[in-house]
């Protein structure tokens, strides 16, 4: 195995073992058999249908993870991804029901509205931070509450559907032109057929594109260079001509704008919804924080993290039928996250020390014929 890959996998493997031990203890204490629980979990995820369901579930987690990771990269904690995407999804849903456009345009418009609203909502925290030095954690948490209030108000008073006489607090259902079709047709082109009722939801390509875009932005672009630099060493960034305030503002808005895509998966691509209502998932922004931490803000790491998260959730879905509490899922997730964060740090310190030693050794080795001291000239 590549040494880099082995290094990347060591910490999560150790963390997984630790998480299994912790949740086994929890199961034993509650009088259940860990073996029985884990076997049942494995059975639940061990099918094509499960794999598809896990991917469907992981897509919005991935988007949320990327949104939060953008902020993390420069030490900004966007706790408000939740408020940003929920408010944005509601307004986007309403705009979607009030417009009538050809399919690609309709979808584009709704996504555009959502991204703009979420970015603008995040911008409030950005303005507060840049002009008044309000900590973004406090600002975004408060904005989450405010967003929740606004969503309830708008849904109850203005955006409520009228078909059922307004009995249910939900928007009208989006028309066909505003929906992103499932990928089943595409998969069938390869000759593979899903069991009836199984759908690979259509937002997956958007998430993949987002991941590639995130990677390019972070590791290839000037903006990403300055973003990582600002996160790593704000003083050096300043000396290098990066305007810290502008950078903070741009990053918060970008993080919010990406968060605006979270709800689009449910709204535009998931047949359970196509509308914004009580059942609409409203806490994925918080999940994104865990995903970003677990994925170490790395484009590929976040993929792995969102799949792990979704797998655990899927695996624990049927446990209650056996009388095993489903809460073992969050315990597994939590202990895995905690152990992984610790393990990552330990591995990082070790490899940093090893790198420093290797460099020192290389330099202190018998000198190769090299340039003579002081003979260098400016280029």
């Amino acid at each position: 195995m590549l040494p880099g890959l082995r290094k990347a996998l060591l910490a999560p493997l150790v963390a997984a073992v630790a998480a299994l031990i912790v949740s086994s203890i929890a199961l034993l204490i509650s009088g259940n058999s860990p073996q029985e629980a884990f076997v049942e979990m494995w059975k639940t995820i061990d099918s094509t249908e499960s794999v598809v369901l896990i991917i469907n579930r992981a897509v919005p987690y991935y988007i949320a993870g990327v949104a939060v990771a953008i902020g993390f990269k420069m030490n900004l904690f966007n706790i408000g991804a939740n408020g940003q995407y929920v408010l944005a999804a509601l307004i986007a849903a309403w705009v979607g029901t009030k417009t009538d456009l050809p399919a690609p345009l309709h979808v584009t418009l709704i996504m555009f509205v959502s991204v703009v609203v979420a970015g603008a909502w995040a911008a409030i925290a950005g303005v507060l931070k840049v002009t008044r030095n309000v900590n973004e954690v406090v600002a975004t948490i408060m904005l989450n509450f405010i967003a929740t209030g606004i969503v309830s108000f708008l849904l109850a008073e203005h955006f409520r559907e009228t078909e059922t006489g307004g009995l249910v607090a939900q928007t009208e259902v989006l028309p066909e032109s505003a929906r992103i079709p499932s990928l089943n047709r595409l998969v069938e082109l390869t000759g593979f057929h899903f069991a009836p009722g199984v759908r690979l939801l259509g937002f997956l390509p958007f998430a993949i594109a987002l991941g590639i875009g995130y990677h390019l932005l972070l590791n290839r672009s000037r903006f990403g260079y300055e973003l990582r630099l600002s996160g790593m060493n704000p003083d050096a960034a300043r000396a290098a001509g990066v305007n810290p305030k502008a950078m903070i503002f741009k990053t918060i808005v970008l993080s919010g704008a990406v968060a605006g895509l979270i709800g689009m998966h449910y709204l535009l691509a998931d047949p359970q919804f196509y509308k914004f209502g009580d059942q609409f998932p409203k806490t994925v922004g918080f999940t994104g924080i865990s995903i970003a931490l677990l994925g170490r803000n790395h484009p590929a790491g976040i993929i792995a993290a969102s799949l792990v998260w979704a797998t655990i959730e899927r695996g624990t879905q049927r446990l209650s039928t056996l009388g095993i509490p489903q809460e073992i899922g969050p315990i597994l997730q939590g202990s895995f996250l905690l152990a992984a964060v610790i393990a990552f740090e330990v591995v990082k310190r070790r490899s940093d020390a090893a790198a420093a030693t290797a460099a020192a050794r290389a330099v202190h080795a018998p000198p190769a014929p090299g340039p003579v001291l002081g003979s260098g000239a400016t280029a």
């Binding site: 290839r220 000396a239 460099a359 020192a360 002081g374 260098g376 400016t378 280029a379």
Partner: protein, 515 residues
């Protein structure tokens, strides 16, 4: 004194000390014999292993091999607590004082006198005054640390370890932060201490001090003791330097002048006011000067007199009023990014804080500060190829010792980090270079290299501003010297005629000149 050694045991005797760190042998057979009641100097280049040795002696870590004897008895220190119990105290280069407490509070901190919850401040004050009087270390016990000068803070540190009963004092580069007359005062106090039977060990790389003040000298190179000089009058600074370096002594001196009449940087009335206070103190007060093409202008001054702020204002990190012309163009209202793009090179005084992103690779650091200009910027992207190429050039031409350009910057030693910063700024082809302490904390070899780079660039017409605490460096490198005191440029001196002590008296305001 040689007769004494036969009857009185040595205050400190280290035999064959070996201390290994992963991949590096920091001390590889060091011997040290310190007679009681003497001032003993330990000299060596940066990275020679002096600090490691002192930490061993102070109990901060344990040696892998070798023995430590204090007053003739073998000791195994587990912690600095054991060392202080044996009467060994250390004054670090970076003071460890709480700025918002008074002198006596700092001194008793962690060892508060009195019973239960009552603090015996009276007793502490009395003891302090007495200690101060006896050793010429007088200091107002009720003064706030924040109000003290550097020399007084150092006195406070020394009093602190004396208060704790130290009889053997270790001072790590005690003169690095002092001006010449403060150095005299310090050693006068240390002399009082040794006359009273205490022993002083000090680490330095300033050879003139060693010859002037030390009773005995130990020279360390590459983790080994390479010279023990019981009688300093028998050696010259050159002998010591050659022992330290193992080869010929470098010198910063410039001979022929390359100064032209073409102004590169014209600064007029530059003023920096303390942040957040509109009527605050002026950190830089109306600085006016010109640097010509091919000229090195040195700024001398005791640290904290506005030199750091002057440089930061010129590069645009600190807001300032006044005008700055770069080759005739007004850049005073341009942001840092634009100033640097137009040819202001910047070597920050703290490379790890301002000059490098330590977790970036060397090639990523090669673009730092130039990330928005060619060749590093390619549209909205970073040109990784160009950054790699530039990093390779820097490593080769500026002798950065590294296994490769893909390693992270924190893996390099301080001297190599500094050469990376210097190389980056110089290869960007600046018109004006602002160099704050360009050789701070680098060893003699790297220092000579950096001096050479500055001289070569000067020959090619670069205008350079050098701020430094190293007076020899300033005098040796500069074509012209300005002295900064309390934010003002108070004197202009000719480096070919001025002496370090003369310069020192201008720096402290003891001597005044009209510009």
């Amino acid at each position: 004194m040689s007769t004494v050694t036969t009857t009185v045991p040595l205050a400190i005797e280290l035999r064959d000390i070996v201390k290994r760190f992963p991949g590096v042998v920091a001390n590889d057979g060091v011997n040290l014999s310190v007679r009681p009641g003497t001032i003993h100097a330990i000299v060596g280049e940066n990275g020679a292993g002096k600090s490691t040795l002192m930490k061993t002696l102070y109990g901060a870590h344990r040696p892998d091999e070798g023995t430590i004897q204090v007053n003739g008895i073998e000791r195994h220190f587990r912690s600095p607590k054991d060392a202080i119990a044996d009467g060994i105290g250390m004054v670090f280069q970076h003071f460890m004082l709480a700025a918002n407490l008074t002198v006596w509070e700092n001194i008793v901190l962690g060892q508060e006198p009195g019973k239960f919850f009552r603090l015996d401040s009276k007793g502490a004050r009395v003891r302090l005054r007495e200690l101060g009087r006896r050793y010429g270390l007088e200091l107002d016990p009720d003064a706030l640390i924040a109000d003290l000068g550097v020399g007084e803070k150092q006195r406070c540190e020394i009093l602190k370890i004396l208060y704790r009963g130290a009889r053997i004092l270790i001072l790590d580069e005690p003169t690095a932060v002092l001006v010449p007359h403060e150095v005299d005062e310090l050693f006068a106090s240390l002399r009082e201490l040794t006359a009273g039977g205490a022993t002083v060990i000090f680490i330095t790389h300033k050879l003139d001090e060693v010859l002037k003040y030390a009773d005995a000298i130990t020279v360390i190179r590459d983790g080994k003791t390479v010279g023990e000089v019981p009688d300093p009058s028998s050696v010259t600074a050159r002998d010591l330097a050659e022992m330290m370096v193992g080869s010929e002594l470098p010198s910063p001196e410039i001979r022929e002048s390359t100064v032209t009449a073409v102004p590169a940087l014209e600064v007029e009335g530059l003023t920096v006011t303390e942040e957040d206070e509109p009527d605050g103190r002026r950190l830089v007060d109306g600085a006016t000067f010109t640097i010509h093409r091919g000229e090195i202008l040195g700024i001398a001054g005791v640290e904290g007199n506005g030199q750091a702020e002057l440089v930061k204002a010129l590069v645009g990190i600190l807001p300032a009023t006044g005008t700055i012309l770069l080759e005739g163009d007004d850049i005073s209202h341009l942001p840092t990014q634009e100033r640097r793009a137009r040819g202001i090179g910047y070597i920050p005084e703290d490379r790890q804080k301002d000059g490098l992103a330590l977790e970036f690779t060397l090639w990523e650091n090669a673009a730092l500060g130039h990330q928005r200009v060619k060749p590093f910027a390619k549209g909205v992207w970073i040109d990784r190829g160009a950054a790699h190429a530039r990093a390779t050039v820097i490593v080769d031409e500026f002798d950065v010792r590294t296994p490769g350009i893909d390693v992270q910057a924190f893996t390099l030693s301080g001297g190599n980090q500094q050469k990376l910063v210097v190389g980056r700024e110089m290869t960007a082809d600046p018109k004006v270079l602002l160099a704050a302490h360009p050789t701070r904390g680098v060893d003699v070899g790297a220092q000579a290299g950096i001096w050479d780079f500055l001289r070569d660039a000067r020959k090619k017409g670069l205008a350079t501003l050098v701020v430094s605490a190293d007076l020899e460096e300033l005098i040796g490198l500069s074509d012209r010297l300005l002295v900064m005191l309390r934010g003002r440029l108070v004197a202009e001196l000719d480096p070919s005629t001025v002496t370090p002590s003369e310069l020192g008296s201008y720096m402290t305001g003891a001597k005044e000149a009209v510009r």
